[in-house]
Subunit: 271 residues, 2 copies
Amino acid sequence: MSLGSKVWMNGVIMNANSAYVSVSDRGFTLGDGLFETMLWTSSRIRFFDEHLARLSQSAVALGFTTPLDVTAIKKGLLALVEDEQGNAAAVRLTLSRGIGPRGLALPETTAPQLIATIAPLADTSAPAHLKTVSVPRLIGAPSTRFKTLSYLDNVMAQHEARFKGGDEAIMLGTNGNVACASCANLVFRYKDANLTPALRDGALPGIVRGRLLAAGLIEEANISPSQLALCEGAALTNALIGVRVVSSIDRRALDTRKTWPQSLRDTIRVG
Amino acid sequence: MSLGSKVWMNGVIMNANSAYVSVSDRGFTLGDGLFETMLWTSSRIRFFDEHLARLSQSAVALGFTTPLDVTAIKKGLLALVEDEQGNAAAVRLTLSRGIGPRGLALPETTAPQLIATIAPLADTSAPAHLKTVSVPRLIGAPSTRFKTLSYLDNVMAQHEARFKGGDEAIMLGTNGNVACASCANLVFRYKDANLTPALRDGALPGIVRGRLLAAGLIEEANISPSQLALCEGAALTNALIGVRVVSSIDRRALDTRKTWPQSLRDTIRVG
């Protein structure tokens, strides 16, 4: 079977072509749900525990009442990728609130939908060009604090970056500081320190970001656009790409020969 | 057939129980789409032209390339509600980007999904209690300028308002001014004027709001929380409820016997 031809849905492996949700599913009608994107490589799902911990905590914060069966999920994901063996792949786990009647109010009883899909990895080996975009990053809202199905602002941020000739976006938080890329965290090399935007500036608590913080290799900071214009280097981080070097920000070329990203990469590789 | 048992989907009337979208539909995975909620009453869809104009303009702004066939949509919606005759109902029209590969980038070719559902109207005859909520309203982003499927912040705003004992939320924009309710615009009676939050403060360009502005019955204003605390009356407006009087804001009782909302209602009724 080709990669992506199977889907795991509510405990069952099925053909991707017959995997559907109702048009009344709140994930579809209201963006009412969460997701995680995980890396399958070397016969394991990297950072599985961190991904599931974040998903569980986010679900509680959004008022989901059905606990996640982590053991069953892991078993399901492994069944989904078992044909892939040595091929690295992206595994996406989506949790939707499920079908609800019209209106925004959380239904008293819900049947959340839990769906896992696999897809090939994009080639992100080349250094990335970043473009500052006009789409702002909302600080303090559920859509920003958690990795939710209400992702349209990120979609349009990346679209704007690509329209401007870049690979990824730099989104500024509503307080004006640098927050994150459209689907990655940011690290900047600034005065010999590795800085990453603070959560209170709109950054998502990314898994790789968390690993690097815990290892003491990066530190949280409030980064203004004027500091951004002076950084000596930059990198993107997320669970799929690990650490990706940035070659330019708004057409200003950065020195990609610098060795500091390698220490970040080594940590992720070993971790 | 009971109300809501039928769905109109991509030109075809079908049973609601068999109306699905793919788990790879970007409306589901990324909140990548738009919707309109319309009132079916007295054998017509109120404000149909305004709803479709807003949907079309929003779709263009989000990079949708397939023009909407307004005539076919109107025919489809009328076929959907034909069994209802005299019963007022809510008609929701959802436009999703359709199936896409993994990632945020807009697919080069898409098959947008267009879906209409009907549901009973909620009883909104009683005056509403409003609660100011902590979920902020993002100014200037696609998710705020348009009525999108990325609606989770509104969901959580209403949830917070209900948790606090209210019926609807007052959301503040990221600049601190009053923006809107979770699924309605706001009008405040302040020093004998009828004021509604400005679009630049995060208000959605609502259909009823637009009608009342055009009629000169309300005017745009920047409304601070301290002005909110001094308003003499308030109302909610949207296409389903028309104009709903507000009885309290954060437990401060308002005088609901005031006659100013009636002039707003008369305009909507006649318009």
